[in-house]
């Protein structure tokens, strides 16, 4: 067994991860702010009115500035209407719909990000959330479309299967790393593709999961009503119990990482696998366990996707959640409250898309904002340089407050 490779890789993730994890809330907020600023620039420079008025900028600078302001204001106003409160809505029910949509989109993001975050804290980089979602969703779909069970039990079984499926798929990664020293990043990337292939095969084959009277494209049936996650706020809103699952996940994650001995050992292995091994901890088994638990959180996202659906599902059921989860975990500093807030923000980006589309702004702008936010998060020196922040040794008041509230013992 090549312990040296493993040490090298783990310590590598560690050293750089430390600063990112130790970032605290202040830099996260600054990064989000900067991300919105850059997003605004993209809006302005792709705005027709602005591009026309810039041609006679010297003559009438007010036009250009005015249209720039309008572009930004319209864009972010649309994002607000689409994701938080639609003040233009005809009735109160519709006015509050955006925030429920945000919560609905945030659910799977938060859940999957918790999985990625947990792996980060153990010194592992789980790029395999997408594969784990697919694998969990595969078996959940099997239960929800091919098995008949009574009300209640059907949903619980489907839920457990989603979690266990994703956890098992994650555990394989941990097992391969533990047994062979293979780097989990490569393993998870390969396993994402393998899961996609398997799921597509299942959704394509009539004897397996293909929809009852489907054509040639791979697609499953809608989950049976008994296995669907019920709506949370009545029939007016599509928000379902998946979000509650995510919140339960956040609390569980906090308990595991901050209170439990298992989380303590996870963090120990993440910080120093050699010392952990010397202290009698089976590091290899911890990798397997951590990846399984990481996968279990991702499994909550799988349940969200597979059981929150009301129509047939296609092989891209994971959407971009797998990779978005990495960005959410990074922005949230891999802490429970951080992931929750970051997940809500990115959920809002998704929810806001239709409203932005409606005013002729490509909703993909949120992808740009999202990309820059994590760029700033990933590059602490960059943000420090922009805001002339002190070097990281001196923790800010906010960071201290943050840490004091949410973690014990000061160590990350």
């Amino acid at each position: 067994m090549s312990t040296t490779t493993e040490q090298a890789t783990t310590s590598r993730v560690n050293s750089a991860m430390k600063e990112i994890l130790a970032s605290g809330a202040s830099r996260a907020v600054l990064s989000v702010f900067l991300g919105f600023v850059v997003g605004a620039l993209f809006m302005v420079f792709s705005n027709d009115a602005f591009l026309q008025s810039i041609q006679y900028f010297a003559a009438k600078p007010g036009d250009a500035l005015g249209s720039a302001w309008t572009a930004i204001a319209d864009g972010y106003a649309a994002l607000f209407r689409g994701s938080i409160y639609n003040y233009q809505a005809a009735n109160p029910v519709a006015a509050f719909r955006p925030i429920t949509e945000t919560l609905r989109f945030a659910g799977p993001l938060i859940a999957a990000a918790l999985g990625v975050a947990l792996a980060f804290r153990v010194g592992l980089f789980n790029i395999g959330a997408s594969g784990q979602i697919l694998f969990g969703a595969l078996w959940a779909t099997w239960i929800s479309t091919r098995v008949t069970l009574p009300w209640g039990i059907h949903l619980i079984v489907a839920l457990l299967v989603a979690i266990l499926g994703a956890a098992a798929y994650g555990a394989i990664v941990g097992f391969l790393k533990a047994r062979t020293g293979a780097h989990e990043v490569i393993v998870t990337i390969m396993m994402n593709y393998i899961a996609a292939g398997i799921l597509t095969f299942f959704f394509r084959t009539p004897e397996l999961l293909r929809e009852a009277d489907g054509g040639g494209t791979p697609k499953s049936d809608a989950p049976a009503v008994t296995a669907q996650l019920p709506v949370l706020l009545g029939p007016e809103y599509t928000l379902h119990w998946g979000f509650v699952l995510a919140i339960v996940g956040v609390v569980t994650y906090w308990w595991i990482m901050e209170r439990s001995t298992m989380g303590y050992r996870f963090r120990m292995v993440g910080h120093n696998p050699d010392a952990a091994r010397t202290a009698g901890i089976n590091v290899e088994r911890t990798f397997v366990l951590a990846m399984a638990v990481s996968g279990a959180f991702v499994g909550l996202a799988a349940a969200n996707q597979a059981l929150g659906a009301r129509a047939g599902m296609t092989p891209d059921i994971d959407g971009t959640i797998g990779f978005d989860a990495i960005t959410v975990a990074l922005l949230g500093s891999s802490t429970a409250p951080g992931v929750l807030l970051a997940g809500l923000l990115f959920g809002a980006f998704k929810a806001g898309a239709p409203a932005m589309q409606a005013i002729g702004l490509s909703p993909e702008i949120t992808g740009v904002v999202q990309g820059f936010i994590v760029l700033f998060i990933a590059a602490p020196p960059l943000v420090r340089a922009i805001f002339r922040l002190p070097a990281p040794q001196k923790t800010t008041v906010v960071a201290d407050w943050w840490r004091g509230i949410f973690s014990r013992g000061g160590a990350k």
């Binding site: 209170r259 001995t261 298992m262 050699d274 901890i281």
Partner: protein
Amino acid sequence: MKLELRGITKRFGSLVANDHIDLVVNSGEIHSLLGENGAGKSTLMNVLYGLYQADEGEILLDGTVQHFKGPGDAMAAGIGMVHQHFMLIPVFTVAENVVLGNEPTGPLGTLNLDEARKRVREISDRFGFDIDPDALVEDLPVGAQQRVEIIKALARDAKVLVLDEPTAVLTPQETDELMSIMRGLAKSGTSIVFITHKLREVQAVADRITVIRLGAVVGEAKPSESAETLASMMVGRAVDLAVTKHKPKKGNIGLSVTNLTVVGDRHNKVVDDVSFEVHAGEVLAIAGVQGNGQTELAEALVGLRIPSSGTIHLGELDITHSSVREVIDAGVGYIPEDRSKDGLVGDFTIAENVMINRSYGPPFANGLQVDFASRDRITDQLIKDYDVRTPSRETLAKKLSGGNQQKVVVARELSRDLNLLIASQPTRGVDVGSIEFIHERIVATRDAGKPVVIISTELDEVTALADRIAVMFRGRIVGIVDATASRETLGRMMAGATA
């Protein structure tokens, strides 16, 4: 070439690693730089070699001031360095390593490896090194790798050769060979800076000695000076390494190891058919030159390495194939040789470090949860009992000094109910005050009727603590002698002679 350092000062943050150091090395002279671990010797040499830039002071070669922006400049000026950790690329051949950075090339920048081989053979023949230019470095034994390093420096026309702790990994014979190489080089006009903390070697080979302590020059000395004088210069006060201890009250056999063999990472027998016994209330020291299987033996004893044959019994209990956790639960305390790598989690607080090997149950765990109250109470008590100098129990372990870190490790291990203590290099890189404290604690453990195994490469420590001494050489125990054995006897055994 005459080398002169004037007022070299190097700071790392608030730490002053070198404080206005002056040093003169004459042409063809072997000048020894003597100092304890952490005295600032290596920092000084890295400044000289251009790896670090000095904050103050200047470097002169034959009277001209030099400005080294990197090792390239230093090399061009005629300075060569053999680092403590070899700077060789394991997957390259000897020839490739020797010419790296100074490659003979043909058209298009193609490598001329024939020329490279020729250079290696030339130097190798001149000094009788016997090195195959086409061998992969990773396949060579340590002594040969060191000779490759010397060839590398000479191939660059080094006029000043710096050897940084070159004997740490060598057997006494290899050390002797190295010394005759050094003398030969000096005779041919090369100036040599020989960095070490080993008094005997200094006395054997140096022309002049400069002693540094805590980053500053303490003074110059002649090799004819007595070892005691040199030692007291090194540590700053008269050294009395002898620990006061009473005659051992031997009890039953606490640890017995029979025919233990451990196969290493490269399929070689790193521990070869080793047998010994340790009684309760006795300290057995395992001495030997670093890298002769002591580390692997210790790791096998605590379950970190799986023996390929032989048995380990803790009293009546067979722990040959026990996991680390089982060994810990059986009451084996272990102080690993590299505390920052294996002994502590630097990013954990002291409180968190105190429970690293007992997180599964009381007093540190309460069901599935950490018992924070109990943990904090125990930690505070240990900080007090073991005199750990720290602002609070919430201080990160990496922020502590080496001595205080080691006290945390010792406190953690000794505060358990032990049936055996294994301490590997227990005072390496620890300040003198802490050394005394730790030694006292180890002896107290012995006096409490526990079997103790000390593994140390420092003969002084071995003779101070041990009741009996086992000497390891190439994975074997060449003999077990009483603690009263002479240094000469021990030295011969460390070179492989049987007792």
